[in-house]
């Protein structure tokens, strides 16, 4: 899919972690714009010095803090966790009821009215983003919408709007060019990698970082778009159906015919050829 579509103008986040101060303004703005309920939390539940611990059914974006060892030294780092809005999203491909849609503008959105709650999207997402309303008897999936309601009207997402330093929002090609410009202008400042450029076949969220992405909690994700993996098998379904049904039908016809011929012969030999004992 992604190969034929022009992605250069898809709305894309460029998140420069070297400029992120960890103020969590994005978290607050997100909660307010999406009118998410408050969450009962406790401190130090997550990996780092933070609250709430992770994304949840009430929280669509967080700043994820992490304390870790790097080359024998204690390090401390953080990044903004959110839906990556993949170019060719796994959630869109696996949803049995088409509840997920990759919009032409870029955000991957989710229709609460269609979802049957099978949670295949949560298994499929290579970034582990979709959350489930575990507290409800009839739960739904919850996920960052890329503020589609705002983007559609020409506004920028709430988190990008609130961020004082680190988030730039615009066309995908424009953001890639900007990221590359920063990498070449300041090679000492950044790891030479744009996370999201090729991950999962490319995403609409791009990250720049001063420390290795693996260290601070980014997942190592395949470069090949995930839906192509299942489609490689699924596309054989019609052929498998016809082959299996056809060959079994043919074999049945063959064996039954053989049986009939054998019976006819027996009949003749027994001299009952004229009698109607044979069912067929």
């Amino acid at each position: 899919m992604s190969t034929t579509r022009d992605l250069s103008n898809q709305r894309t986040f460029l998140i420069d972690l070297t400029k992120c101060t960890g103020c969590r303004g994005c978290q607050v703005a997100c909660k307010q714009w999406n009118q998410m309920e408050a969450e009962k939390t406790s401190f130090f539940k997550g990996e780092g010095y933070q609250n709430p611990a992770t994304l949840s059914e009430y929280t669509l974006t967080t700043i994820q803090f992490k304390d870790y060892f790097h080359e024998g030294k204690n390090e401390f780092s953080f990044y903004k966790a959110m839906c990556m809005h993949c170019n060719d999203p796994a959630c869109v491909s696996v949803c049995p009821v088409s509840a997920f849609v990759k919009t032409p503008e870029g955000p991957v959105i989710y229709d609460t009215k269609k979802c049957i709650g099978c949670r295949f999207c949560m298994i499929a997402c290579p970034f582990g983003i979709p959350r489930y309303q575990w507290s409800k008897a009839l739960p739904l999936v919850v996920k960052c919408t890329g503020c589609y309601s705002r983007v559609k009207e020409g506004l920028i997402p709430a988190c990008a709007k609130a961020c004082p330093t680190a988030i730039k929002y615009g066309g995908r090609q424009e953001m890639i060019d900007e990221a590359k410009r920063r990498l070449t202008a300041n090679p000492g400042r950044y790891m030479n990698r744009i996370y999201g450029l090729e991950e999962a076949g490319g995403t609409s969220v791009l990250y720049l970082s001063a420390v290795p992405f693996d260290d601070i909690g980014f997942r190592n994700v395949t470069r090949r778009p995930l839906p192509s993996r299942t489609w490689a098998a699924l596309r054989f379904v019609p052929a498998a159906f016809i082959t299996m049904g056809g060959s079994l039908a043919f074999i049945s016809w063959l064996t039954h015919r053989k049986e009939k011929i054998r019976r006819d012969k027996e009949m003749k030999e027994a001299g009952h050829a004229s009698q109607k004992g044979d069912r067929s």
Binding site: L248, T255, H256
Partner: protein, 400 residues
């Protein structure tokens, strides 16, 4: 009131084991009600890290191949025309029908919004393996129901539907086998999307094919186990000789499976294989105890023709070659390093035990009231009396 009394006295005439099963099924039923009252989060140990747990791993991913006996034996007997195995077909169809019905129940319990199940038809997504499996399971359950209706109609003496079903028998068997091929393999396709999650010992592009082959040999092993159980506990004739015929086919499929598995492991896998000791151990148990040992067993005539040994080999295949394999793929192999470990909650376990108990209970009950073991020659003449009425006297005994 008298009807109630009759039912009670009927149940009292059941074997103690069946009455225990009734208790387990009832417990499962109440646990299912608890799930809908208090929600998935409160009643299960599922969370955002483990969105799929015991209910998907056992009630769907494992139960579907366990119910594969019907389509495999149907194809062997009716398409390849190995008629002497016919006495095994009906019990297998009952098992298949019950199995799929319970898969549907398990799936509905696990869905967040089961009342929206029809959305699969309203908003189809052809790229989704789940869509494919949902359609196939629904249509296969219908096919299995139609196949299952034959003994029911015989029991009730409905002649016209019986004639229709008799005409449809072969087309239904072919259709059923074709549909089963699709969803047995597509359940493997589910996990092809989990590319960075499922460990490489199991993740490979031919996983769907491996799932289909293992469903086929499991189907045959389940028939062996079922026939032996029915012989031991339901006073049916000893079918060891027939089963030996079936057992001759099994090592072929085990061998093909083993070869493909080795090929996939060394030529199709992309990342390190033996970096996690626990997973390596699980994989070794699965392959050695579930595939290699039973294959060697089934290759020997002495074991094939011995009622006890043939049961043991079939049991190994089912227990390790299939159940452990499906849990490895859908649960253990998906656990990442240093990730918290999922174990099912009490309610999840009670529901699953209830579903297993329901399967055995319903099979015993169906076997008690419907003619699923009698051999029915295809030449029986149903042409005498037409119409939806009983023919000769009260065919239904007083006990129901």
């Amino acid at each position: 009131m008298t009807a109630m009394k009759k039912i009670v006295s009927e149940i009292q005439s059941f074997h103690l084991f069946l009455r225990i099963l009734i208790v387990l099924v009832t417990a499962g039923f109440f646990a299912a009600i608890a799930r809908f009252t208090f929600g998935l989060g409160a009643t299960t140990n599922l969370n955002d890290i483990y969105p799929w747990g015991l209910w998907i791993s056992f009630d769907v991913v494992t139960s579907v191949p366990l119910a594969a006996g019907a389509f495999v034996l149907g194809a062997i007997v009716h398409c390849f025309h190995i008629k002497k195995l016919e006495p095994l077909v009906r019990p297998a169809i009952v098992t298949g029908f019950l199995g799929y019905s319970l898969v549907c129940i398990g799936l509905l319990l696990d869905l967040g919004q089961p009342q929206r199940g029809w959305h699969v038809f309203a908003y189809p997504n052809l790229h989704s393996p789940m869509f494919e499996v949902a359609l196939c399971v629904m249509s296969y359950t219908t096919v299995a129901l139609l196949e299952f209706l034959s003994p029911v109609c015989e029991k009730l003496g409905f002649h016209l539907p019986l004639r229709v079903l008799r005409t449809l028998e072969l087309p239904l068997i072919v259709l059923g086998a074709a549909i089963a091929t699709l969803h047995q393999s597509t359940i493997g396709t589910f996990f092809l999307i989990a590319v960075d999650k499922l460990h490489n010992l199991w993740y490979n592009p031919i996983l769907p094919l491996l799932f289909w082959i293992s469903a086929v040999f499991t189907g045959m092993c389940i028939i062996i186990i079922e026939a032996v159980m029915v012989h031991r506990y339901l006073n049916q004739p000893d079918e060891t000789d027939l089963l030996a015929t079936l057992a001759r086919i099994i090592p072929w499929f085990l061998g093909i499976y083993l070869a493909l598995k080795v090929f996939a492991l060394f030529y199709l896998s992309e990342r390190p294989l033996f970096d996690r000791p626990v997973l390596t151990a699980l994989f070794t148990i699965e392959m050695v105890a579930g595939i290699i040992i039973p294959m060697i067993m089934f290759l020997q005539k002495r074991i094939r023709t011995d009622g006890v040994l043939q049961l043991r080999a079939a049991g190994l295949v089912v227990m390790f070659g299939l159940v452990l394999n499906r849990f490895n793929v859908s649960m253990f192999g998906m656990i990442q390093k240093n990730q918290q470990i999922y174990y099912p909650s009490a309610i999840e376990s009670i529901v699953t035990i209830g579903i297993i108990a329901a399967h055995i209970l319903f099979f015993a009950v169906v076997a008690r009231y419907f003619p699923i073991f009698e051999h029915h020659s295809e030449d029986t003449d149903y042409a005498i009396a037409d119409g939806f009425h009983r023919t000769k006297g009260p065919v239904v005994p007083e006990k129901v």
